[in-house]
Amino acid sequence: RITEKDVDDVLWDLEMALLESDVALEVAEKITTELKEELVGRKVKRSTEISEYTMEALKKAVKDVLSVDGVDLPQLVEKKKPLVIMFVGINGTGKTTTIAKVARYFMKKGLEPVIAAADTFRAGAIEQIGQHADKLGVKLISHRKGADPAAVAFDAVSHAKAQGKDVVLIDTAGRMQTNVNLMDEMAKIKRVVRPDLIVFVGDALTGNDAIEQAARFDEAVGIDAVILTKADADARGGAALSIGYMIKRPIIFMGIGQGYDDIMEFKPEWMVEQLFA
């Protein structure tokens, strides 16, 4: 039988591996504690098997966290038109670029998106998303800088309804999860347009703050799905596990570059490989 002493060393090593991969400390501790409870008292044939066994159990735990039921975007569009998707997250994670990529994704499936330039705050934000929309040949709904973002989003949805468009992609300004006023402003956009899907865009290089970000955005507007960007930067991407553990929502895509096609479906196996490479 496995004793506590048997697994302590192995679990310590695993916890360190998780931490070095940017899994938040709290999450790494919870995962290893749960693992310990599961392992202690189990029967194994030889003591050498313990570490192997522990490793397999951890892989399974990681997969479990990340294998929540996914979101089938094209299927959602079939059910509701226009499908309204709002993108949220802290500053500079890649929301605007990701929207351009997701627009391309829908276009490849023969669906027509509209983009709402609802970041009316940041310098150059409207021009940035505007240039993406031009290059992609997507209709952009925008107001002046400083305008009410909820009004922009509302107009985009109205436009999509009137023109029979398939999807509305709402770009919002980046904001810190600690900024109460800005979090309220985001909640107002949600109240006004009632999006079908709220996507949290997180940066794969994020450390321990990932859990605070996910928890606070979830609290403010409710996160339905997650996209993890900049996975091409050699990130181990522990943030995926932290976020998954905190809010138990599916990670639908990973951003893997700055081009429009640099997006891929997220596979839990990827994370497992990164962690145990």
Binding site: A123, G130, H132, N179
Partner: protein, 293 residues
């Protein structure tokens, strides 16, 4: 969950409070808490263990100076060791040549362009004339962002969205702003796997010959900070660091790890999106925040 660490740390610190002689067990407990605090603040894991080892050794072996309680002693050791990491080098930006050339570098979305706007304003307020050159040929509306952000700040901006050659833009900007006190070069974001972009950065650096290359580090970055900073240093001599987004809940331990690795001092921190949200770096405050004290 928020800030539970600060609380737990001050709890152990409280245990120390009444102590008149050093109790080994309590010290070990405090060290453990410090370790957790540093890990939660994104300090590089190996660095955390090295750091806590030297803190523990000193706390157990060094006699506290007369009139100093064990608690004060440990706190001063912790500060001491952390300050050592942050470097003895100056935390001030000194403009001692004309035109003083500053090259901004960093990962995608770390806050370079915004921080350039803030720094330009900071320097203008000190009476320096400033020109900013946009060499970002990647991000849509990069030049427009700079222009809008510095509107009304009396800062000259040069860029050309039609020109796709970052090196050519740097050369032209350099020539144009020879009469300014300071020239700041904005660059496209890049990371250590983008070899072409790193090479471009090397070439940019050769053209600009910066007095100071400033690496902008996102305060929310985790364990990757060290590796990424190393890749940047390999391509260019990094003179200083600016840590952004410290108005959120992240503690900036990634940036600390980068400093410890490449030895360039942090000179400013970014504390918001507004043009005035730039603070001169204060090591003591940074360390307190990192430790949740």
């Amino acid at each position: 969950m928020l800030g539970n660490l600060g609380r737990s740390l001050s709890k152990t610190m409280k245990k120390l409070a009444g102590m008149t002689i050093v109790d080994e067990e309590v010290v070990r407990e405090v060290i453990k808490d410090i370790q957790r605090a540093l890990i939660q603040s994104d300090v590089n894991i190996k660095l955390v263990f090295n750091l806590s080892k030297s803190i523990e050794e000193r706390a157990l072996n060094e006699e506290p100076p007369k009139g100093i309680t064990p608690k004060e002693h440990i706190i001063s050791i912790v500060y001491d060791e952390m300050v050592k990491l942050l470097g003895e080098k100056s935390h001030e930006l000194v403009i001692d040549d004309k035109p003083y050339r500053i090259l901004f570098l960093g990962l995608q979305g770390s806050g370079k362009t915004t921080t350039i706007g803030k720094l330009a304003r900071y320097l203008r307020k000190k009476g320096f004339t400033v020109g900013v050159v946009c060499t970002d040929t990647w991000r849509p509306a990069a030049l427009e962002q700079l222009k809008q952000y510095t509107e009304g700040q009396d800062v000259s901006i040069y860029g050309d969205p039609q020109n796709r050659d970052a090196l050519d833009l740097a050369e032209k900007g350099l020539a144009r702003f020879q009469k300014k006190d300071v020239i700041i070069f904005d660059t496209a974001g890049r990371h250590k796997e983008e070899k072409d972009l790193l090479r471009e950065m090397e070439e940019l650096s050769a053209i600009v010959e910066p007095h100071e290359a400033i690496l902008v580090i996102d305060g929310t970055i985790g364990q990757q900070a060290r590796e990424q900073a190393l890749a940047f240093r390999k391509a260019t001599d990094i003179g200083s660091i600016i840590v952004t987004k410290l108005d959120g809940s992240a503690k900036g331990g990634g940036a600390l790890s980068a400093v410890a690795e490449i030895g360039a001092p942090i000179k400013f921190i970014g504390t918001g999106e507004r043009i005035d949200d730039l603070e001169v770096f204060d090591p003591e405050r940074f360390i307190s925040r990192l430790l949740g004290m």
